[in-house]
Point group: C7
């Protein structure tokens, strides 16, 4: 039997709607942020010629290495990395893909990254205000190239922000500190991949194998969101 004093506390969050604390905070949303902060880290960098995403994978020894539940294609020129609860993320990925398809069918062009981020966030916000549900326990880094390379962050409270470079998840504070020092708007996609993977390597608590990381990129040239192959990641890991 666990410590009773602990139990009398569990009551406090188990029976909640998402309501305000006296300090004006939405506790359920802050708790959902904790789920994000405990997710394996993801990282995005906007470059002069495109934008990249990287994500650490947490794997048990016999899990399949090519199983990827961190980075998803939303549209030809838009991709997403997730930090937090993967089940919640899939539900939002489905929603994002529908938004992208509706835009294609209606306007015959790709949805802008900002519009997608805003509409996703509107959806996420509604889960913080209505009864009978809980907030989403996931944050997204969304990248794409429309007029220029784009990198957006969404959060469980329904906020979204445009970033030059940003990391979310376990160890994100440390990663963002490095990013602030080393980021330059002149970075090329390849340089950014190198930087991102090096940051993952330096901040990981255990040695990083190629199977422990996935990456994706999109360039201003072909505007195609594509995953980076394992060999390239291996080479970067070896050389860094």
């Amino acid at each position: 039997m666990e410590d009773p004093s602990l139990f009398s506390n569990t009551q406090d969050y188990d029976i909640a709607l998402t309501t305000f604390s006296p300090e004006g905070r939405l506790f359920q949303v802050e708790y959902a942020n904790e789920a994000v902060r405990k997710g394996t880290p993801i990282l995005g960098i906007r470059c002069s010629d495109g934008v990249i995403l990287t994500a650490a994978l947490r794997k048990h020894s016999l899990q399949e290495p090519n199983h990827n539940d961190k980075i998803f294609t939303i549209d030809e020129s838009i991709g997403i990395a997730i930090a937090g609860l993967s089940g919640d993320a899939r539900s939002l990925v489905r929603y994002a893909r529908e938004l992208a398809q509706i835009n294609r069918l209606t306007f015959d062009e790709s949805i802008s990254v900002k519009t997608l981020s805003k509409k996703l966030s509107d959806h996420i916000q509604s889960y913080t205000q209505q009864g009978g549900t809980r907030p989403y326990g996931v944050s997204f880094l969304i990248i794409g190239v429309d007029s220029t390379p784009q990198l957006y962050l969404t959060t469980p409270i329904g906020g979204f922000w445009s970033y030059k470079a940003h990391a979310v998840g376990m160890g994100a504070n440390q990663m963002n500190t490095v990013l602030e020092k080393e980021y330059s708007p002149l970075l090329k996609v390849d340089e950014a991949l190198n930087l991102a993977i090096r940051i993952h390597k330096e901040t990981a608590s255990t040695p990083l194998h190629p199977e422990g990381i996935v990456a994706a990129k999109i360039t201003t040239v072909d505007k195609k969101f594509e995953q980076v192959d394992k060999k390239t990641i291996q080479q970067i890991l070896d050389s860094s």
Copy 2:
């Protein structure tokens, strides 16, 4: 593990509908006001020849400087600044834009600022009385020019008031004290912008950069709501 005595308190606001306290207060609404008081400050001033809005931006070092989630256009001649939860604000901004469009379609003219403020507040009030939801954690400063320049405040309880000049958000008390001393109905739009930005500068806890502030104005001449460009803000900051 956090302090248990703190936890036994969280229960109190996590499970709430919006109901009265013995003192006749609506606690959930007062807590929502706290979210407003912790938002980055916004400020509006009615002038002899128009009306202005300014808003401080809270930015991380790698966030995109031109991302604006504080000031929104509602109609050609109406704009809004928000203090509080940006996700909640967007939901209300959508509602405000629909109100403005319906008025245009029905009467072929811009909605009056007072009517817009009243209808928005009616909507906000309903979230303080119905079960299964929480109040909106956001206050608006709404400006526009109809017969004369207008400046209205909306609050989470569903109240709205007409002001000559007002500030909301973090540090608003200090800002309002300065406004009471320095406000004059003879102020011109340019003078009011100078005053507002100087107040932001004086009350900010850290040095204010042009990227840390946005502004908008509307004059009685062209009745167009428009954002103030960065260069102008820079010049005011330099000269103040």
Copy 3:
């Protein structure tokens, strides 16, 4: 962090439906009455030749003086003053106007003040018995002239009473004591206005400026509900 002992109390009223206490009281309704008792005071007097309403306004120094959220026209010959939450009041004012319009459309005449008071109170009562909502935190003084001058009070529990003269809101006990001494059924509208404003002046905690009070009247002659202009109020204030 606030005092924990205070917090363990907030639970008690935050999670409530409107139900009976062992003493047969409806606590949520009594708490709503507190919101009324803390509102700026309103006062009505029935005269031999009409009936009047006065209301104190609580204004911040830069609030617009001509913004009136205390007295509303319901029908040509009916007006209302509110004490309590202004957002709640507006919701009921809308309902009262609909009742008045329906009566006009159906019977081609003004609704009687008693019928209006009764139907409003029936609506208010239903919010004290159904789940999923809270009572209205507002009381009305309703005046009008049908066969004779009328003055009615509505309360959050859904009661309504006919009065010769009555005050509601902050300081109402003191005001009613003066009214009981000085009221006469022979009072004329002008005398009643003088009496009412003098009572506001005597019971206000700070000096009363013309901007701090609004008034309305209706006479048996023209049966038109109309606001009293600022100049008249100024003159009464000066002479009292």
Copy 4:
């Protein structure tokens, strides 16, 4: 701030559905009875030639004396007196009038007092068993003449009883003790009115004025429910 120990108790009844206590009692219903017991008293007496109702009125000094919220006509030959929450009572009076009208339209005759009492009580009972509502905080004395004079009592739990004479509300125990001593089935309507008003006078905590009491009667001769005029009440008060 009020006594915290009192507050931790308010939780107990504020969050309730109407459910059984371990003693098999429905607490919400018993609390509703308290609201009845605190209402101004009402009294009914069945006579050899009719049946009467009297009710005390609680008035503030400037309330209108002819405002009657205690006795209501339901049908030509049926009337009701209420003890408890007047807002709740009005809701049930509306329901009673509908029942009476439906009976008239369907059978072209007045509803029997017993049937009306039963159907009202069935309605009241349903509010003690369904979730999402609270019981009615009101008791009725219903009088009428069908084949013979009738006097029924309804209670918040949905019970109804036929009485020869009965009092409900504040001081009812004392009143019923007098009734038990002085009641005779031979009483005439006029004698019963005298008895009832004398009982009000003797049990009132303050001197009883004609404005503090209302009365109604119905006789076997004309079977018309009618209010007793003030003059008659004054005469009885003077002579008793």
Copy 5:
């Protein structure tokens, strides 16, 4: 103010759905049984030539003696006595009469007592399993003659049992002890009435008057459920 320690307990049953305790008991149902145990007692006896019901009445001194809220006719050959909350009972009596009528319309014959008891109990059971309601606080003794005389008991948990003789309500344990000693299947209806009324007389806490008891019977000869007249009851009371 009542004892606080008592209040902190009322919370426990006021907020309940009907759910299991760790001992596998349905507390709300057991509490409903308490309401039955506190009702005035009812008693049924199956005889060789019919079956009888008796019920004690709790009367205030001025209540109408011929008001009967304990025994009801369901169908020509079926009757019911109730112990517990009379409002709840009336709701079930309506349901029982509908069942009887549907059977008559469908099969052109009286519903069997067992079928009626079973269908009523199915209905009662559903109120112990669904949310948003409370169990019925009433037990029935149902008598009738179909192929043979029948006596059934229904309980708040939705159980029903066939009995030779049984008593329910206040003092039922003592009554059942007497019944076990004196019951014989050879009893005639008249003897059973004598036995039943004697048991009421012996177990009543105050002297039993004819107005304090009602009785009904049905014989195998005419199969008509009928109330026993006051004179007969008086004679039995006198002779016992």
Copy 6:
């Protein structure tokens, strides 16, 4: 007044949905199992030439001996014995009979015992996962002969198992221990009845009368589910 420390516990189960405990248990379901464990015991044995059921009856002295609420026919060749709440059981028996009839109408043959057990259990499981209800407080032993003799157990959590022999209810542990020692797959129906009744006799806390037990059987010869007559039970009781 009962012990307050007991009361503060009742809160814990009275307000519950069926949710997981930290140990992964569904408490409401385990409490429902307690209702089963306190029911009068039932016992089933699969034989070489059929399968039998026995059930103890708990009877008050004047209850009707031939009233059977423990064993029910579901289909010509399927029967059920219940342990737990009889009202809950009847609701499931109705459902089981509908399943059997639908199978007959659709496929013109008897439903298999396994299919019936599975579908009943699916229904029972749904009451452990949905809000607004409680689990069923009953277990079934289901017997029948399709290709071979069948004996299945259903439980409140929605599980079902095939058994050679099994007992459920009060004293079931002791009964199952005897069954494990004495069960043989070579047992004939008559021998199994002897064994089962002897086990009831040995484990009953009071002497067992023929009226305290019911039995049913189905053989591979005629595949007809039928109750065992009292005389046979008497003979077995006498000889054991």
Copy 7:
């Protein structure tokens, strides 16, 4: 009566929706995982020529040995093993079979194991976010052969992962440690069966009989999911 301190804890999880703890955990989901961890263990191994499943059975001495509630066929080439609550599992097995049939009807081919796992997990995730329900207390190992042999795990939070070999349920940690040491991608189906059954044998707390284990396999040759017969299991047990 159990320990009161234990009871005051049960409240904490009995009244819960699935919401976040301050640590960002979904407690109801973690408690559901406990139900999985207490289930009898299941184990899957992907081989060079197919994939296998094994599952331990918990049996009482008189339970039927051939009753299998651990391994289910979903489609010709897909099978599932379950750990946790069998009632919950059946509900999901039904859903999985519907998904498989819809795929067959729509595309005329078998659903891919990954798609099935994803859609099942989407369904499971929705039970962790919506009010009025609890999470599923079950994990699945899903095997099949589409382009290659597949082995997926689903969890109560709505996650799914591809594995080379994995065990779930009681003792799974120990089993997975052995798997990590002995797994080779070169294993043949027969060797994998040997390994799996040996692991069950070594980690079982009591000696393992053939009746205590079930197994299934599917090979790349015929792509047919089939149960392994008892004789084969016996031989493996004897030889290991």
